[in-house]
């Protein structure tokens, strides 16, 4: 089973889940690169043609918008609402998109937009050596005794390591309670910002494309 990364403000817990029923290969991500892996499945995509789609606040906004009613329903029933298995593109992601700096910004904005939209947790899907959206990759040379792994750009936003993840830092509080992050004054779709008050201070987290 591929590794999963959890984004949750409850950093002290470790979550594991099991899938029951039928496992499927394709998930509904913002886009898919399935034509590159499976003949006849999906439409071939030139990554550079779709990269601009990720460089705007409207990407994460568009994903969560159709789910706002559901997050409201979850609250009515007092249930958590979880984004399972998401990432930049299904079927392993796009080379030149899913493994570059721009996706760190996308992930940061998307994650915070989910937090603002009352998602309880999110799972950024990663996989084996043949995918582009992993948060780390094995070194190809014999420096692995020292280096062990090379962190991919997505590690910056998705990482479980609290000291390295601006997303987890933004979601944590000293009391380990979830932090509200209303996007006050989203300055532009190229510079979405999220602000929150902690103690007597206002903090802003912005993701510039």
């Amino acid at each position: 089973m591929p590794a999963r990364l959890w984004l949750s403000p409850l950093k002290s817990k470790r979550y594991i889940f099991f899938v029951h029923g039928v496992l499927l290969n394709r998930c509904s991500y913002p886009d898919n690169n399935c034509a590159a892996l499976y003949e006849g499945l999906g439409t071939p995509v030139n990554p550079q043609d779709v990269f601009p789609n990720y460089l705007t606040h409207n990407s994460g906004l568009g994903i969560v918008q159709k789910l706002l009613n559901s997050t409201s329903i979850a609250q009515q029933y007092q249930k958590e609402f979880i984004m399972f298995e998401t990432n930049s593109a299904s079927c392993g992601g796009f080379r030149g998109i899913s493994n570059v700096y721009g996706i760190s910004l996308w992930g940061l904005d998307y994650g915070l937009q989910m937090a603002y939209s009352n998602f309880s947790h999110a799972l950024f899907h990663v996989g084996g050596q043949d995918v582009y959206y992993n948060v780390s990759i094995s070194s190809y040379v014999r420096v692995t005794m020292i280096l062990r792994t090379i962190h991919s750009p997505s590690f910056v936003s998705f990482s479980q390591n609290d000291s390295l993840s601006p997303l987890l830092i933004a979601l944590h509080s000293s009391s380990d309670e979830p932090v509200k992050l209303p996007p006050v004054d989203c300055w532009s779709d190229l510079l979405p910002c999220y602000g929150h008050a902690r103690d007597s201070r206002q903090d802003w987290l912005c993701s510039r494309r």
């Binding site: 470790r14 099991f18 899938v19 789910l67 979850a74 979880i82 309880s120």
Partner: protein
């Protein structure tokens, strides 16, 4: 149900929940269910699993089921909310889920 009983024994309190079905709105498209498979059919199948949970004396936690985990490929979340899913299983669910 072995995965549930073994999971509880091995992982214990660190289990978040058990997902019942993964992207059921793709079952028909992928040939795993008839082409007529609907949100009502998924809700019915979820109930079968829920009843197995409830009646299994070896399972300790009866309230940590997860669903519907739609891919939003062919159904909207509202298509499931328009079935008896929430009313019938709210007491057994710990989370509502989507995959996008």
């Amino acid at each position: 149900m072995d995965i549930v009983t073994h999971g509880e024994r091995i992982i214990g309190d660190h289990i978040l929940g058990f997902q019942v079905g993964n992207e059921p709105d793709l079952y028909a498209q992928h040939g795993h269910r008839p082409t007529t498979y609907s949100p009502f059919d998924y809700s019915g199948e979820f109930g079968i699993w829920r009843d197995l949970w409830t009646n299994n004396a070896d399972i300790k936690n009866k309230t940590n089921l997860i669903g519907p985990s739609l891919a939003l490929a062919n159904w909207a979340m509202e298509d499931v909310w328009n079935t008896p899913f929430l009313q019938d299983y709210a007491s057994s669910l710990m989370a509502l889920t989507v995959e996008k």
